[in-house]
């Protein structure tokens, strides 16, 4: 354990601590603003780190990564605008709870869950880095495909409102992800000779459009009103000991799910939070509360998405394989300093690796401290008049959409999807499945097609490979069993004359 310990001791240098605080704070702020993401901040900082020491650069970037993943929960909870795709599930319960006058509690749960999720992932990161990354490489295209299909089924089953409308929204999202470069051939398709579509529609403008801009449109129709909540109670920020005890199982399970999804390269934090959230809903004693301000839901989603960050560091450190977009940028930062992350990174730059891991732990704790002590001010966003708040949010959304890839077209895409999001919300079509369908369809498609290229067109491994088959079975069970149970419960309660139950 000596190198790990000395890595922590190195961190208690005032300059390094200062870097961590700066990184986490800027990450939180940027992550919280709809339209701006941690990834954007990190890629902007990349050229700057060129002039720093490699160790300092990594500490700063990892801190930003942790902050950026956590900041999104603030706007997801208070404004129903997810700061990043991984916060979509947090809007399901965080926003209703905040709207019911308890924004402090809603934020507090999310913050603590994020911290715990991050720390549990860190334990995995410190202990079983190498075997896990090797296990992850055995996950072939068919396993990915089934996992993604399972996530898609799950999201449709947990979204609020009617299942049919959820499915329609999901399919619409999938359809919209199709134009652009065919992931399996590199040729463009469905672009209708509009070359601006050659790169397809990007996630960020679509996400920010339907959630943030859509929300802004509907809010601005109610201009002149003050925020929905005039008094933002901030008690309950700190989870009590009995709270922690009650949700210990949930936190551990959700964090481990998040960690594992993080280890799998290229599928992202949103799947982690979907899997954790639906698992929790299905194990919960109060599944009917999910979608209406369930505390368990917030905890599951936030513990999982922060755990994916730690999880994604595992293959990065063990094998030089980036688990996420941000990890790819971290690799670039190392390479700029002529350090090549790969299977031998531990041998060549062990101190740096332990420094990175220690920075991740300290940044996670710093994130908890910073957010917890600023919640009482942050929660006041709820009481701000919309007339002041919305223009600022709009400006940031447009800035973010443009900054993503320096193309004005993305801003128009975002505004267009704002209108679509507004209309969908009016028509009670859930937005979560729409965006998740948009994110997952291309992954499912490219993985399946890769698998079919390997087997010369034989799809049977989807059902014959054990992990793949297991995911499919779980998906089918989760799709069939809960409605069946709800139906039975509803029948029972009708007999008892209770009309409140089975409201989902």
């Amino acid at each position: 354990m000596l190198p790990e310990l000395s890595a922590f001791i190195t961190l208690f240098d005032p300059w390094v601590l200062c870097l961590i605080l700066m990184g986490v704070t800027s990450g939180v702020v940027v992550g919280a603003i709809p339209g701006l993401t941690g990834a954007m901040l990190i890629s902007l900082m990349l050229p700057v780190t060129f002039f720093m020491q490699p160790y300092d650069a990594i500490v700063l970037l990892v801190s930003m990564y942790v902050g950026g993943t956590s900041g999104g929960l603030v706007t997801a909870t208070l404004l129903r605008m997810p700061g990043s795709p991984s916060n979509i599930l947090t809007t399901f319960d965080g926003y209703p709870l905040a709207k019911s006058g308890r924004p402090g509690r809603a934020l507090g749960l999310g913050i603590t869950a994020s911290c715990v999720g991050g720390l549990i992932a860190a334990v995995v990161l410190f202990t079983v880095t190498k075997p896990l990354s090797i296990l992850a490489t055995l996950f072939g295209p068919f396993e990915y495909f089934s996992l993604v299909i399972m996530a898609m089924v799950l999201i449709a089953s947990v979204s609020q409102g009617s299942l049919v409308k959820g499915l329609i929204a999901g399919f619409l999202g999938m359809l919209i992800s199709m134009p652009g470069v065919d992931p399996s051939t590199g040729m463009t398709r469905l672009t209708f000779d509009v070359w601006r579509l050659d790169g397809g529609l990007k996630l960020l403008p679509v996400l920010v459009g339907v959630f943030a801009v859509g929300q802004i449109i509907s809010d601005s129709l109610r201009f002149g009103e003050r925020g929905q909540v005039t008094e933002a109670k901030t008690e309950g920020i700190l989870m009590s000991f009995s709270d922690l005890k009650k949700s210990a199982g949930n936190m551990l399970r959700s964090s481990l799910i998040g960690t594992w999804v993080g280890i799998l390269p290229g599928i992202g934090a949103s799947i982690g939070s979907i899997l954790a959230y639906t698992t929790q809903k299905n194990l919960s004693k109060e599944p009917e509360k999910f979608g209406h301000g369930s505390e368990e839901g917030i905890i599951a989603s936030e513990a999982a998405n922060n755990a994916t960050v730690g999880g994604a560091l595992i293959p990065l450190i063990a094998m030089g394989i980036p688990g996420s977009v941000v990890d790819a940028i971290l690799i670039a930062a190392l390479m700029m300093h002529s350090i090549s992350p790969g299977p031998t990174l531990f041998v060549t730059n062990g101190d740096l690796v332990y420094g990175m891991m220690a920075a991740y732990v300290v940044a996670t704790i710093a994130m908890w401290v910073i957010l917890t002590f600023s919640v009482r001010w942050i929660a006041r966003i709820m009481t701000l008049p919309m007339t002041f708040l919305l223009p600022v949010v709009v400006v940031f959304c447009m800035l973010g959409a443009f900054a993503l890839s320096n193309v004005m077209f993305d801003v128009w895409v975002m505004l267009g999807f704002g209108i679509l999001g507004f209309l969908m919300d009016r028509g009670k079509f859930p937005l979560g499945p729409f965006v998740i369908g948009f994110i997952l369809a291309p992954i499912a498609e490219s993985k399946l097609r890769t698998g079919l290229m390997m087997t010369a067109g034989d799809p049977s491994p989807v059902l014959t490979r054990p992990f793949s088959a297991a995911f499919i079975v779980v998906a089918i069970l989760l799709l069939i069993v809960p409605p069946l149970l709800a139906w039975r419960r509803a029948r029972k309660s009708v007999e008892l004359g209770d009309f409140d139950a089975g409201g989902d």
């Binding site: 890629s43 490489t137 652009g180 590199g186 050659d198 390269p265 790819a328 299977p343």
Partner: protein, 324 residues
């Protein structure tokens, strides 16, 4: 004929735009049509830093990452005002896209400024499939066509390199599978999902060798040959394909282009600045650490070089497109 047309056009452009002896008078934009952090982006940032730290140009260079398909940023650069303040950094993918018909413009729609750095590819197999040399690979793939899975990013450099090598070495047939870039292929090789791929030297060093140059006992890879003109110093035992009797090199470099009609002062000024930047100690070190040959091509040498690459890539891209 074509060449005369081009030079006529260049003269026309040069006369149409007033002479700009004072170039550059404002910041220069370098469009990189790939994401932050990738190989292209790192190269661009190194050029930027090399030029700026040493004041080789009186104005700063802004690297702008335009993401999505590489053709989007390339098209932005092609359609930009040819005033000497917009440049593009691209590579072979542009020729691949033109050759396969994926995009309706190409390398000849730009002024060519410089080609920077060069690395050649290494065909690599998984070390547990019983193939020990390049000739064994060819034999096996000819005896059992399409039984070996070649991990590639279809339409991209590693796919084209596979086809080019196959065409030049007796046409062994591989089954190309969409996996992605080198890291994704390394993952798939480790997970025993594919049999072979091609990688650059720096990836082989990263994934296959220990810091002291010995082979990493955990590595699943077996590099077979080097597709360059002479052996690479970091892998002294790896024969070149030419030594094995195959007449082929497959090497990749980064190209700096400018919109058609960009004034000569700007094209030549930029080329000179880039050339100086690559000679700085910092950049030489970076090239060495990534095992990229520090070669800069400009002017007539560059034109001849690009024409040569096009002669190789055009037919390969057509084959690649037909395989899909």
């Amino acid at each position: 004929m074509f060449r005369t047309a081009i030079s006529a056009l260049a003269i026309l452009a040069a006369t149409a735009i007033p002479a700009i002896a004072d170039w550059p008078e404002k910041p220069i934009k370098l469009i990189v049509p790939f994401g932050a952090g990738g190989g292209s982006d790192q190269m661009a940032r190194n050029i930027q830093v090399g030029i700026q730290e040493n004041d080789y140009l009186p104005q700063p260079i802004n690297v702008v990452n335009v993401t999505g398909h590489f053709s989007i940023g390339s098209r932005q650069a092609k359609d930009a005002k040819a005033d000497g303040y917009t440049f593009l950094q691209i590579h072979m993918a542009l020729m691949g896209g033109e050759g396969s018909g994926a995009i309706d413009f190409g390398w000849r729609d730009f002024e060519h400024v410089a080609a920077v750095g060069e690395f050649c590819v290494i065909p690599v197999v998984r070390n547990d499939i019983g193939i020990k040399s390049y000739s064994e690979l060819v034999e096996k793939a000819k005896a059992e066509p399409k039984s070996l899975l070649f991990g590639a990013n279809l339409g991209a450099i590693n796919h084209m390199s596979g086809i080019a090598l196959s065409e030049a070495t007796g046409k062994p047939e591989f089954r190309y599978v969409q996996i992605g870039g080198s890291t994704a292929n390394f993952t798939a090789l480790t997970g025993k999902q594919i049999h072979l791929s091609t990688m650059g030297v720096s990836e082989i060093l990263k994934f296959h060798l220990m810091p002291d140059g010995s082979v990493n006992p955990d590595s699943p890879l077996l590099p077979l040959a080097y597709a360059g003109p002479e052996r690479v110093s970091a892998l002294p035992d790896l024969p070149t394909l030419r030594e094995l009797g195959y007449e082929i090199d497959f090497c990749v470099s980064n190209w700096i282009f400018a919109p058609k009609g960009t004034p000569r002062e700007a094209v030549e000024g930029m080329a000179a600045a880039i050339e100086k930047a690559t000679q700085t100690e910092k950049m030489s070190e970076w090239f060495a650490s990534r095992n990229v040959n520090n070669i800069v091509r400009t002017g007539d040498e560059l034109e001849a070089y690009l024409t040569g690459v096009w002669e190789v890539i055009e037919p390969v891209a057509k084959i690649a497109a037909a395989q899909k």
